[in-house]
């Protein structure tokens, strides 16, 4: 479809501003731009239709099943959007006098109280704008803690090889050396490997539990104890919190600090790649190291972005928390786990789970053998799902499973949807044995065929230009 620039007509526009009611003041010539920016010139009708056309070529949670593992694509309630758009929130300046922003502080305080209770933490910041940003903040808490004690020998952060790439990247951004430890055959932390890795140079451990293969690590107390014993701290990556919220708390597992993805676990929409919100919680002894806005607080703290964070996202998450409440929070977690296990069971007999046991909120299929048998890859299966109107699962992650497809159905899918999804997987399993070539070419009915990614990387075209 045409780009917005290809629809632009010179001198078209929307009528938005009144004439200026005071005298214009020219910029000095030396400071003035020589040519106007080549922005589109559109009527409001053109604009409305352009974006309506674009949104038809997007699959959202509202369109259909979205079992993208580790992303927790649950339904995003509309009331949450409505609350965040209230002028009483949207119109508040971050530097307005404190006595005029009591409502904003009530939102932050209430969300903090609920989330600390859910995670077993003592204090919290909402400044981080996303999960990776939360990781950065959390690991900086660990760094400040060691620095404040003059404990300068702690240069290493331990990360299991099943971890998301953000974990090691975060440790590097915080100046730590990354120690990757292999996973045990069951996908959990290899205790012997951990024992060999910890020492008086250990700053901390970054871990998610349930882990990235969807298994709750039953040795978790032993793991956090081993790290604490050598003077390190334990960081909980909250990517998988949806499985356990209200059931078991990271604080009780021995973690010292944690980030949550409000845009996963607490139902705020992903917006095609943000805005998220990465609330970071910590135990009491780390609270003094939490970030703050210098301009808002006047105090010297670390700071990971301007002002108080993605506040309107917190409004959405709080609305969700208040809706679910003490009963609904664990119910959501249990239903997420139930849905994952039900779907895994329904697929059984076709694609093989990487770990054949009760899973948490997500599970990983291992297609290595299947690929040898049929020549059809995890990518082919993923692309074939698109023809059924299902968003593909996360592919080729975690790295410890080759030909991985990771499915996370979430609690907001009905049994019929899960039955239907399992049926689609069964059909594709059969199709791969009958007509593998057809699957190599999938998708067949999407807006585009498979894009040439190599060409995009070798010959980068990153903006539109007049030809």
């Amino acid at each position: 479809m045409k780009l917005i620039f290809e629809k632009s007509v010179s001198d078209r526009g929307c009528s938005l501003l009144p004439p200026c009611d005071v005298e214009l003041v020219p910029l000095p010539d030396a400071q003035t731009r020589t040519t106007p920016p080549g922005l589109p010139e559109m009527s409001e009708t053109d604009l409305s239709r352009h974006y309506t056309q674009l949104c038809r070529n997007v699959h959202g949670v509202n369109c259909g099943f979205y079992p993208l593992g580790s992303c927790t694509m649950k339904y995003n309630p509309r009331i949450d959007e409505e609350m965040a758009a209230l002028p009483g929130f949207a119109g508040v300046h971050p530097l307005a006098p404190v006595h005029t922003t009591a409502g904003c502080r009530e939102v932050l305080d209430t969300a903090k109280r609920y989330l600390c209770e859910i995670t077993g933490m003592a204090d919290m910041t909402f400044q981080p704008a996303a999960g990776a940003h939360g990781e950065f903040t959390g690991v900086l808490l660990i760094k400040q803690y060691h620095d404040a004690r003059g404990d300068s020998k702690r240069k290493k952060i331990i990360v299991p090889d099943s971890a998301h790439g953000t974990n090691p990247a975060t440790a590097s951004m915080c100046g730590f050396e990354v120690v990757n430890i292999p996973s045990a055959p069951n996908g959990c932390v290899d205790l012997e490997a951990l024992k060999a890795a910890v020492g008086d140079d250990t700053a901390g451990l970054m871990l998610t539990n349930p882990n990235t293969v969807g298994i709750f690590d039953e040795n978790i107390l032993e793991i956090t104890r081993l790290v604490h014993e050598v003077g390190g701290l334990c960081y909980y990556d909250g990517a998988n919190l949806n499985a356990v919220m209200g059931v078991v708390r990271p604080g009780d597992m021995g973690f010292d600090c944690i980030h949550m993805n409000l845009h996963k676990t607490f139902a705020t929409p992903h917006g095609g790649g943000g805005p998220g919100a990465g609330a970071v919680g910590c135990k009491d002894f780390l609270a003094r190291y939490l970030p703050q806005s210098l301009l808002m607080s006047g105090e010297e703290h670390i700071q990971v972005r301007s002002f108080a964070g993605n506040f309107l996202v917190v409004v959405k998450a709080l609305t969700y928390l208040m809706t679910l409440g003490r009963e609904g929070i664990p119910e959501a977690a249990q239903s997420a786990v139930l849905n994952a296990n039900y779907l895994m069971r329904k697929i059984q007999g076709t694609f093989k789970p990487a770990f054949d046991r009760i899973c948490m909120h997500e599970f990983v299929l291992d297609l290595a053998e299947f690929k040898q048998e049929t020549g059809v890859s995890a990518l082919d299966v993923a692309k074939s799902l698109i023809d059924y109107g299902m968003h593909p699962p996360t592919m080729y992650f975690p790295l410890i499973v080759h030909e991985a497809l990771m499915l996370e159905p979430t609690e907001t899918e009905s049994r019929e949807t899960l039955d239907w999804a399992a049926e689609v997987f069964r059909k594709l399993y059969a199709l791969a044995h009958e007509e593998p070539e057809f699957m190599h070419q999938a998708p067949h009915s999407a807006q585009i065929g498979r894009p040439d990614e190599v060409r995009a990387a070798r010959n980068p075209i990153l903006r539109w230009q007049t030809t």
Binding site: G13, L16, D21, L27, Q31, P36, L39, M42, L47, Y51, Q53, V58, H59, C71, K74, N76, M83, A85, F89, L95, A96, T100, A102, A129, A130, G165, P168, A169, S172, M173, E218, I220, L221, V247, V248, A267, P269, H270, G272, G273, G274, P275, L295, I302, Q303, R305, F307, G309, V313, V315, L324, G325, R326, A332, R415, P443, I448, D452, E453, A456
Partner: protein, 438 residues
């Protein structure tokens, strides 16, 4: 209580049985029994939608929203066209994830590609990423882009937003790199001091245009000095000002970043906002974050994908220069709709009117005995006045539903946008005059 779980109790029991379990607790049999929470969460019971709506609206009602906002300092109250609110609210845009599966996300990918183009047009730069968290993180990521083995020092002008400086400081603390602040003279970066500080270990210098005090920097001269010392020049520019202001490209910037909030995003008590981030072609592969590129599909048709992913953390892990993945895509979409709705003419109009109204306010205030501009020289839509009895003046304005400027260093940092009427400006001037006459 509220719930978004569609399956009924009976269905859930059947599903449990289908997987060979009896009760929901059995789902957690890997969790050691003593770790399970043995009490209900200490949070209130869930509520119906109507109750929640009342409760959250009551919180919003405890905030004060001013009809006239004369405060900026990093968050600007520009007019947001109606269509700019409706388009990003479309559920498909709202509820999609990062466009990993290009075949199912061409709409998101194309919208980001268009955003990247518009930001390049605004800044004059070659390449834009799909956004980062906000202007402060964009500045910090830009500083990180510039460092190499020999050049580890980051210079930042003291006329930069304090939150931006503190964020860069924090990122430098992470990697163990040095940040030095270049002093100001008459509210602008001191060029002579900068030249002295540009030692061989300096990786980059960051300046804000217009700066925190509203003043226009001599950005070309600063850039020249930076390049003479072999360092990289990073500019943080207000995107509305860029509709009329000399582009960072023309000022010699290697990297141009900024806070995108003025492009149609509400004040929202500080977020979500949008960090835009651009550079020259030669630094393309150092740019962090998501980038959308054009390619062709299997049928040879034009298509868009997330591109240059070899830079990113999911491939490079600990060797990646940034850990960013989720950014502010929906805010970037909002900004793109804003720029398209305003067009080049509308954006220039908003910039000119903001500047005109700020100057009208400044000259009106400075006619009051005891009030003067703290710094001489050109300014855009913000300026600092020295003004006795700052608190009283601001309180009087507050009672008239006007959010006055921000108290800074004994003076007031004022801001005006196209949204403020001449009437409101006259009223402001009159009220300040009355307070000071008492």
């Amino acid at each position: 209580m509220g719930s978004y779980v569609p399956s009924t109790r009976a269905e859930r029991q059947e599903m449990l049985e289908a997987i060979g379990l009896k009760k929901e607790r059995d789902l957690y049999r890997d969790v050691p029994e003593h770790m399970l929470l043995d009490r209900p969460l200490d949070v209130p019971s869930g509520m119906s939608e109507l109750e929640v709506s009342r409760a959250v609206s009551a919180m919003a009602a405890k905030n004060r929203v001013f009809s006239t906002v004369l405060r900026g300092a990093g968050a600007y109250d520009h007019y947001i066209p109606s269509i700019v609110k409706y388009i990003p609210a479309k559920e498909e845009f709202l509820t999609a994830y990062t466009p990993y599966q290009a075949e199912m996300s061409q709409g998101v990918l194309q919208s980001i590609f268009e955003y990247q183009t518009m930001i390049c047009e605004l800044t004059g730069m070659d390449v834009s990423n799909a956004s980062v968290y906000d202007g402060a993180t964009a500045a910090a990521e830009a500083a990180a882009m510039c460092r190499d083995r020999k050049r580890r020092v980051t210079l930042v002008s003291a006329a930069v937003h304090p939150d931006v400086i503190n964020t860069i400081r924090t990122y430098c603390y992470g990697t163990g790199d040095t940040l030095r602040i270049v002093p100001i003279k008459n509210g602008r970066t001191d060029l002579t001091a900068l030249k002295e500080m540009l030692t061989a270990d300096v990786a980059s210098f960051y300046v804000q245009q217009p700066n925190f005090f509203g003043g226009l920097e001599d950005a070309e001269a600063l850039g020249q000095a930076v390049h003479e010392a072999g360092a990289m020049y990073v500019m943080g520019c207000n995107p509305i000002a860029l509709a009329i202001l000399k582009t960072p490209r023309d000022c010699g910037a290697d990297i141009a970043v900024g806070e995108g909030q003025p492009l149609g995003l509400p004040l929202g008590y500080g977020g979500p906002y949008l960090g835009y981030m651009t550079t020259l072609s030669k630094h393309m592969r150092k740019l962090p974050g998501r980038i959308v590129g054009e390619t062709v599909d299997s049928k040879g048709e034009r298509a868009y994908v997330l591109s240059l992913q070899a830079r990113e953390q999911h491939i490079r892990r600990e060797k990646a220069s940034s850990n960013i993945c989720s950014n502010e895509a929906l805010c970037a979409l909002t900004a793109a709709v804003y720029m398209a709705a305003m067009g080049p003419g509308g954006m220039a109009e908003a910039a000119k009117q903001s500047m005109a109204k700020a100057h009208y306010l400044a000259s009106g205030l400075c006619e009051i005995p005891g009030v003067s501009l703290r710094y001489s020289g050109e300014f855009f839509h913000e300026f600092v006045t020295d003004l006795p009895r700052t608190q009283e003046a601001l309180q009087a304005l507050e009672q008239a539903d006007i959010l006055g400027g921000l108290p800074v260093e004994g003076g007031i940092l004022w801001c005006a946008t196209e949204k403020v009427s001449k009437e409101a400006l006259d009223q402001t001037i009159r009220m300040v005059k009355e307070v000071l006459a008492q």
